[in-house]
């Protein structure tokens, strides 16, 4: 499944994985490596904190329940010491208030277990992008598609495309992470601000509406469906 993902413009990331379950840790290390990233692993909270303070990591993946020092305390300690490395918290507790706690402690994203690796990878890659200036740009460009965030204007080949406000935000999010996989849950969380499972794939219909406005009448499609994972905006074929 990960084989079809092209790391694209994303260079290899240095990741720190803090997870006490050996099987899960081995699986994740292998999977991240196959996706082209470098992974350091710590088996408990104290070791994780030591490694995090020591090394330079692009993203940290921290399990919430850890021996020696729990995940939330680790993140809070890091933030207290001024470290801004993006952190994704993994947890078996997936309820609304737990997620709020995780983010309040200084986590940047929260993923409940069990998760699909594609989901975790997409989120970790998105977090690594945050460190870069992408979020601050006012105009996103992918091939001949342009989105002006300030003027709320979308053009393709210089021709203006009319979008609903939500469609605009959807495209904005997809283009911000151009070249990366964006999952349906990421869209639901970031474009709609909902953190629940809508049972039916409502997002697909929104994306296909958006696609009909962006790609219809053009030879090269820009919004791609990544099977088993989500969507990606990019110039070439996926």
């Amino acid at each position: 499944m990960t084989a079809i993902l092209d790391p694209g413009p994303l260079s290899a990331m240095r990741l720190l994985l803090v997870e006490d379950d050996r099987d899960a840790a081995d699986y994740l290390r292998k999977a991240f490596r196959e996706a082209g990233h470098v992974v350091d692993h710590a088996a408990d909270g104290e070791e994780g904190l030591a490694l995090a303070l020591d090394g330079k990591y692009d993203v940290m993946v921290v399990d919430r329940m850890l021996p020696a020092r729990d995940g939330l305390s680790l993140v809070a300690e890091l933030r207290g010491r001024g470290h801004t490395t993006p952190v994704l918290i993994l947890s078996a507790l997936g309820q609304v208030d737990d997620r709020v706690q995780g983010l309040r402690a200084g986590g940047d994203d929260y993923l409940p277990k069990p998760y699909a690796f594609t989901e975790l990878l997409a989120r970790v890659e998105a977090l690594s992008r945050r460190g870069v200036s992408q979020g601050a740009e006012t105009v996103y460009k992918v091939a001949d598609l342009e989105l002006d965030r300030l003027a709320h204007r979308v053009t393709r080949s210089g021709k203006e495309i009319q979008l609903q406000p939500r469609e605009f935000r959807l495209l904005e999010y997809l283009m911000r992470y151009a070249g990366q996989v964006v999952t349906r849950t990421m869209l639901l969380e970031n474009v709609w601000d909902y953190h629940f499972d809508p049972q039916t794939n409502v997002i697909d219909v929104h994306v296909s509406r958006l696609r009909s406005k962006i790609d219809k009448g053009f030879d090269v499609p820009l919004i791609h469906t990544v099977r088993g994972a989500g969507y990606m905006v990019r110039a070439g074929l996926v």
């Binding site: 309820q95 709609w192 809508p198 039916t200 409502v202």
Partner: protein
């Protein structure tokens, strides 16, 4: 239980202790009243005796003034012969007794004028009986000593006449009170023992046991009534739990079995890489479905247990109604349904995320089951209205609806009216909406939309 142990239990009961305390208070009060009455009676009689003596002494000294000593002796003689409690003594200045009806008076009594108590003997009763009298002595002109007195035995008899029955009455009341206390306490103990026995059989596992009601509508009946109501609730919950675990067993085991079968099938017969891949992909799909069912169950359990109250805040329901409708509008449109939304500004105290999920489940349900039976485009109307103190979030469709008899059942966990279960979904969507409604102190009801179904999520705004 030994008689002694039984008595000890009796004495330890609250009823008995109350009664004993009451008896002590009553006895102290009654004894005080008796003592006071006796003392007062005595004082009253004493005063009367003193007045009497005073009058007689004056009368006798008048007699002396009028007729000299002879007349006085004569009058006293006559008086001493009358029966009664009066005593007299008249003597001259040398101490010679001129007239009397007593035999033995303390020496010197006659020489001290005034009133006092004294003992004396009667000539008709010279034995050992010592009599007590209240006397008044006086010295008449010419040196004569006059003493008039009254025996006070009668006074004491009268006092006793008043006090003794009262003492008996108090004693009787205390004894009867204690007996009554034992009787009442034993009755109370019996009721409590029977309640304890019932409680023990219930704890032993017989949840259908109920406490007996005596029909007396006393506090025991009221207690039994409340406890029985509590037992009804517990039994209902246990019943629900049993159904849920049965359903969980069914809804989790069925896909688990399917999952296992697919894996076995792939192991046995998959030949090409594509076969393997397809088998693994369906395996992941199935496990995703399982996770979804599991998540929904956890969420319902949490909402039912009241967790999530901590994250409650003011929630703009209109915003949720518009946003969730907008989320589902393209899907509804694709399915041949027009989704329209109409709102009034309403704010409730709640969990935004859960309310959004509840509405999303209702709309999802309407999209799945709300298509018109005769074909053609259907319509889903989402509306938010204020009705008195409540906010009513309604989702109405134009589908086939639900028969009135089955509307109650749809909120129960796992109930899907479609027996074949062909359409996707965990069957928990509406149960979750129901749980969210209860968490917010509201309710989920269904009504006829003629044609179609209207689901009403009623939430209190206060």
């Amino acid at each position: 239980m030994s008689p002694l142990g039984h008595a000890a239990r009796l004495v330890r009961t609250t009823a008995f202790k109350l009664l004993a305390a009451y008896l002590v208070v009553f006895a102290v009060f009654a004894v005080s009243v008796i003592v006071y009455t006796a003392w007062h009676t005595r004082e009253l009689i004493q005063g009367q005796v003193a007045d009497d003596l005073d009058r007689e002494v004056r009368f006798l000294s008048d007699q002396y003034r009028i007729g000299g000593i002879q007349r006085l002796v004569y009058v006293i003689d006559r008086r001493t012969r009358r029966p009664g409690s009066s005593i007299y003594m008249l003597a001259n200045f040398q101490g010679e007794v001129l007239a009397t009806n007593v035999s033995d008076l303390p020496i010197g009594l006659l020489d001290r004028p005034g009133t006092r108590f004294t003992t004396y003997n009667r000539p008709d009763d010279p034995g050992t009986n010592i009599h007590v009298a209240f006397v008044q002595a006086m010295i008449l002109p010419g040196g004569y000593r006059l003493l008039v007195g009254r025996d006070i035995e009668e006074r004491d008899t009268l006092r006793d006449l008043v006090a003794r029955p009262a003492q008996w009455a108090v004693l009787l009341i205390v004894v009867l009170g204690l007996a009554g206390g034992v009787f009442v306490t034993r009755r109370v103990l019996k009721r409590i023992d029977s309640m304890t026995a019932t409680a023990e059989t219930i704890m032993a596992g017989n949840l259908s046991g109920r406490l007996a009601m005596m029909g007396t509508e006393d506090e025991f009946d009221r207690l039994a009534h409340s406890l029985n109501a509590m037992l009804d609730r517990i039994e209902g919950l246990m019943q629900g739990l049993k159904e849920v675990s049965d359903n969980i067993a069914h809804d989790l085991k069925t896909p688990l079995t399917r999952l296992r079968n697919r894996a076995e099938e792939a192991l046995r017969s998959a030949r090409t890489e594509d076969d393997w891949r397809a088998a693994l992909e369906t395996t992941i799909e199935e496990s995703d479905g399982l996770i979804r069912t599991f998540d929904a169950l956890l969420m319902i359990a949490r909402a039912e247990a009241g967790q999530g109250r901590a994250t409650m805040g003011d929630v703009d329901l209109a915003e949720i109604a518009v946003a969730v409708s907008e989320l589902y509008e393209p899907l509804a449109d694709e399915q041949g349904l027009d989704l329209v939304v109409e709102t009034q500004p309403v704010t409730v105290h709640g969990v935004k995320e859960l309310l959004a999920q509840a509405l999303s489940n209702l709309i999802d349900n309407a999209i799945k089951y709300g298509r018109p039976t005769g074909g053609g485009r259907g319509r889903i109307a989402v509306s938010l209205r204020r009705e008195g103190p409540d906010a009513v979030l309604a989702v109405a469709d134009t589908g086939p609806g639900i028969p009135a008899s089955e509307r109650e059942r749809v909120v129960e966990r796992f109930v899907r009216l479609e027996v074949s279960r062909t359409r996707p979904g965990s069957g928990l969507g509406l149960s979750l909406v129901g749980a969210v409604a209860r968490l917010h102190g509201g309710s989920l009801t269904f009504a006829d939309n003629a044609p179609g179904l209207v689901a009403r999520l009623v939430l209190p705004t206060k």
